[in-house]
Symmetry: C2
């Protein structure tokens, strides 16, 4: 891809962004669109109708100001810890790429540009690729490469520092959030699976007997999970929600192996009551196992088969190939505008389109895989998407040029650094275009909600009125976090190779900062609370990007005939992984469970509260399959959830 094609792509996307922003700032002020652009405010009845005035028809940036002014405490109050973590992922990336852009643009870019390896004629720059700005232009064996070497060390140290302080800050936040939380049923409940059936004893009696015997001082009661089978009869599921008097009591049952046979009496953390994914309880143990295995294979196949669209995308960036395959298009393709659109804008757009089908598929796969809560399904889909995007956006595009596809990488790991060092720099311009399309435009359409807008107009035209059910969405983490992390991956790996990508990424995160704060204020309401469990995923992903950068650097220094720098880079991945290991020991346990110290302190604080007895009374009714509840209850439930997202049925205020 040449410079002018890239500029075409940037131009198109910039145009779309401005259009969307302008339309949004007008349309959002029309009351008719309130359910689309501020469903949360509508549900919370916070929207005031100011009557018609002329200002409504003019674009304005008032929403930017409100989004800017939102404090972290307000965010915590309105969107929970997960909302805060989500915004901190963006601010963390902003910090990382500010440092990267500073080093990259001020130091590395001039060094690259003043090299003479590629013998690029400056006057003909628009028709050349952007390699003049990349490390490829530095002369082989030049001592200037030591500047890149130092930059890599400095940047790694800076990112690790940021990672450490972020992990520490969020750990403390998570504990504070726990101390400040109202009692929730899931804190006092444990899900027990694989309850052994004793002949002559009902399941109910087995559970009662077991917990009365082994947890006499903390056990309160339990609810056996019941499902209707295909004949509409209630059936014998060997799982139960068991309730305890204290959080510590529930944690003991959770963390200790219960039965002598480790495959029986398996205890798991209970999700919030309306977070339970009931359908999965119908599956047997063997069924669960097969489902899990099947879905692992399925995810793998999906990831591999996605190579085909990537190939199509990559063939578009090489116009000559296209001409050869479709000779009748030759005349059209020779038009400058057409060729620039095809090589510059189209590839990223097509990739973007194909990618948009994947998150729902991954979510379905995770739900079959055997998670018992929708929040866990979402988290698992998010992890799957990260692996998918890393492989298919980064590796597939980088390696599609070389003869061997991914499998050989696993079979011949010693070729990896050199292969990456050859493939990665060549894709710099494509990825800049990808950042603009996948980043900028998708952000502005997130704000503008183009598809939803069109659908709502069509609906209104045909049915004449809006439907009554207002749906307040929650952030689609499984879509947004992988996208943010994939741009982070590109930014980190290209930091020293082609620093020209950094300003584009920085703009993305600046826009994201404002747009997502606005969306959290007006659109998204938290459905379930994960209490910040997404952060460790982001941390690991960043470490992966760093190590990948180190491996590429080692390869590049060999290619650029400075093997000493390659050798001296070797301690970097080792040190980074040691740092990661330290973080894993120091912080990760805080994100997976709560310590005795926390649990007992919280229990003690509340033991004298007279309303705890009332809470514990209500607790035994908390976990009921909604399909088995009377219809009226069901509606109440939904209403609750919509009116105040942090006052859901799952939480009972004391």
């Amino acid at each position: 891809m040449i410079l002018s094609a890239l500029l075409t792509s940037v131009g198109i996307n910039l145009g779309i962004c401005f259009l969307f922003f302008t339309l949004y700032s007008i349309l959002r002020k029309q009351p008719i669109n309130a359910r689309l652009y501020a469903p949360r405010l509508v549900a919370e009845r916070k929207l005031k109708d100011t009557g018609f005035n002329l200002e409504r028809l003019l674009p304005s940036a008032g929403w930017v100001k409100r989004a800017w002014e939102l404090s972290e405490d307000d965010l915590l109050e309105s969107s929970g810890l997960d909302g805060v973590v989500f915004m901190r992922i963006i601010t963390f990336s902003l910090k990382v790429f500010s440092i990267a852009a500073l080093i990259g643009m001020a130091i590395l870019l001039p060094v690259n540009f003043t090299g003479s390896q590629l013998k690029i004629d400056i006057s003909d720059l628009p028709n050349k690729s952007l390699d003049a700005f990349s490390i490829s232009n530095v002369n082989n064996g030049s001592n200037r490469l030591w500047i890149h070497f130092c930059a890599i060390y400095t940047f790694t140290a800076a990112v690790c520092c940021l990672l450490y302080y972020e992990y520490k800050y969020l750990s403390l936040k998570r504990i504070d959030y726990f101390y400040a939380s109202q009692p929730q049923p899931r804190q006092f409940t444990v899900l027990v699976r694989s309850i052994p059936t004793v002949s002559g004893q009902r399941l109910d009696e087995s559970v009662e007997h077991f917990f009365r015997e082994y947890h006499p001082s903390t056990y309160i009661s339990h609810t056996i999970v019941r499902r209707t089978n295909k004949l509409q009869q209630l059936t014998e599921v060997p799982a139960a929600f068991v309730y305890f008097k204290s959080r510590f009591g529930a944690a003991i049952a959770l963390h200790m192996q219960q039965g002598i046979n480790p495959t029986k009496w398996i205890t798991e953390e209970a999700p919030e009551p309306d977070d339970v994914y009931w359908p999965f309880f119908s599956t047997s143990y063997l069924g669960r196992w097969i489902c899990k295995l099947g879905m692992l294979v399925g995810t793998f196949l999906l990831t591999v088969l996605f190579f085909l669209p990537v190939l199509v995308v990559q063939s578009l960036t090489h116009l000559e190939q296209l001409e050869r395959y479709f000779p009748f298009l030759k005349n059209i393709l020779r038009l400058t505008v057409v060729s620039q659109v095809i090589t510059g804008y189209l590839p990223s757009l097509i990739l973007q389109l194909f990618l948009s089908f994947i998150p729902p598929i991954m979510k379905t796969m995770s739900s079959i895989q055997g998670y018992i809560s929708t929040s866990e399904i979402q988290k698992s889909a998010c992890s799957k998407m990260i692996r998918f995007t890393t492989w298919n956006v980064f590796f597939a595009n980088v390696l599609s040029g070389s003869a061997l596809y991914g499998f050989d990488l696993i079979l011949e790991p010693k070729k990896v650094p050199l292969l990456l060092a050859q493939g990665v720099p060549a894709q710099a311009t494509f990825f800049i275009s990808y950042v603009v399309t996948s980043g900028w435009t998708s952000l502005s359409s997130e704000l503008f909600q183009l598809m939803a807008l069109v659908f709502s107009y069509i609906k209104r035209i045909f049915s004449g009125k809006e439907s009554d059910d207002l749906v307040v969405p929650s952030i689609p983490y499984e879509k947004e976090i992988p996208k943010i992390l994939s741009l982070g991956l590109l930014g980190i790996t290209y930091f020293f190779l082609a620093p020209l990508i950094l300003p584009f990424i920085l703009v993305y995160f600046c826009m994201g900062y404002l747009i997502f704060r606005n969306q959290l204020l007006n659109v998204y309401a938290p459905k379930f609370e994960m209490s910040g469990k997404y952060w460790p995923i982001v941390h690991n992903s960043t470490i992966f990007s760093l190590v990948l950068m180190h491996i590429i650097a080692m390869g590049i220094f060999v290619l650029k005939e400075l093997p000493l720098a390659s050798t001296l880079s070797a301690p970097l991945p080792v040190l980074t992984l040691l740092f990661n290991e330290y973080c894993r020991q120091r912080f990760l346990p805080i994100f997976t469970t709560f310590a005795t110290e926390c649990l007992v302190a919280k229990d003690k604080k509340e033991q004298d509260n007279p309303r705890m007895a009332e809470f514990l009374d209500k607790l035994v009714d908390a976990y009921k399959d909604p399909a088995l509840k009377p219809k009226v209850n069901d509606n109440n439930n939904d209403d609750n959830r919509l009116t105040s997202p942090l006052l859901r049925s799952g939480e009972i205020r004391v």
Copy 2:
């Protein structure tokens, strides 16, 4: 190595074995050797002096009869569960190799021998290698190879069945053993490390405060670990043994994260009081980390550098090379006897000699690595030794012929099956000789204790009398288990390649069965109780051997031009690993911890026992650094341990 050289080696070893057996059966009856051949009986004062009679001077097999008649219950009584597990490793191997020998000798050997691939002249067999009996002799592409294919499937299924029943049997035994055990201090104790120091509070007060606050109903007391520093002063070690009223109470503190900061208040299982490895408490947290890392690197280097002696050994088996390097030896080397001893017996003997230096080194390394009990040090040294032997006995010998040494294996994993398929069959005769030397002779010298006998005679001659301190040894697991497993590895991998090795291995295990039972009766007394924790190591090791066999088989079938059989073998390692995963979930937790069900049942059974109060009173004095105890106590301690190994100071009978 040719057949006649192998026969020389077998002959030499057989001779040594007979000599040792005969000498042992005479010498063991002399009262002067009682401390050497029956130290355990001496310590337990079970040895009767029958006075002199002529029978004493004649070899007899009475000890064989007594060893044969020993029942498992007697063994459990006298040697604990670890003794039983050790003997079951041998009986398990006996079962495995009986099946292997049956299939191998009755079916595979005739098939191999009637092949004509190698065009071996039967009349000149003594001067040929043993390849006529190996799979190499089966014609390429022959359908007879399907017999090998079926044999592999059958054998794998049989071994997995045996593994399953063994794991199940030992799981039940472990639980029974726990139920039948006397209360032991370690069951009621938890070791707490990394106690945070609060200014103005003594360590003692911190611990007291923490456990009174968070475990008020089960905490009894604690002992701060104190060490003398180089100035002979008592110092501020931030570790303590904390005592609880019940096993369940201790288990809760053990399995739950205690402090909010996961790197503080770290709880670990307490070892038995006289199993504690005190010196290690002096090391700081950072020191421990560096030690651990250093020892990992150390083990790796030791394993790699050991390639040098292996190279020497392998060069001996190729006589021509030796002649080239040392031309002046040519005449001697041409003598048939000399050449046969050098190529047949010497290589295994040298390898054996070098190998015997390794276990003490590994034990030292494990003790530096940071385990707090001598039994854990021994277990870790055992695991290290298994990896070491697998690499240096098996892989190094197999690959020394090929151009690339181990590292390339990791870097180019797709070459592994073919490389092994080429290398492994070629070493069949060397490994038969290794089995005879490392197996048979070392077993008989285990019985005869040659070195100890010589030393005791020298000592007696120079000092005029025996020393007073009688040392009853315990089984050197870190030496014996890796040896048994390495022979198991050879047997499993060579089962279908060169079945001629199987009778030699079977003889080894038959001898081992008798000799080790005899040694457990007369020589070894258990020092510490691991309650069968060695079994999972053996299980994993056997699974590894099976999968290695499958990989070699896949390579061999390709080499023998029957690629379909190679493809159809691919499910085997997958199925084996799935089986292993099932066992890991079903049985492994039983070997790492005890379930709530066990602990509470055991606690309840004893709660009405009036002597429990007395036990709990004594408990607080159980953990004291012997270096800080008055000298008199120390002696008592040792006496206790020697007189009755299962009635050690660590156990207080109720």
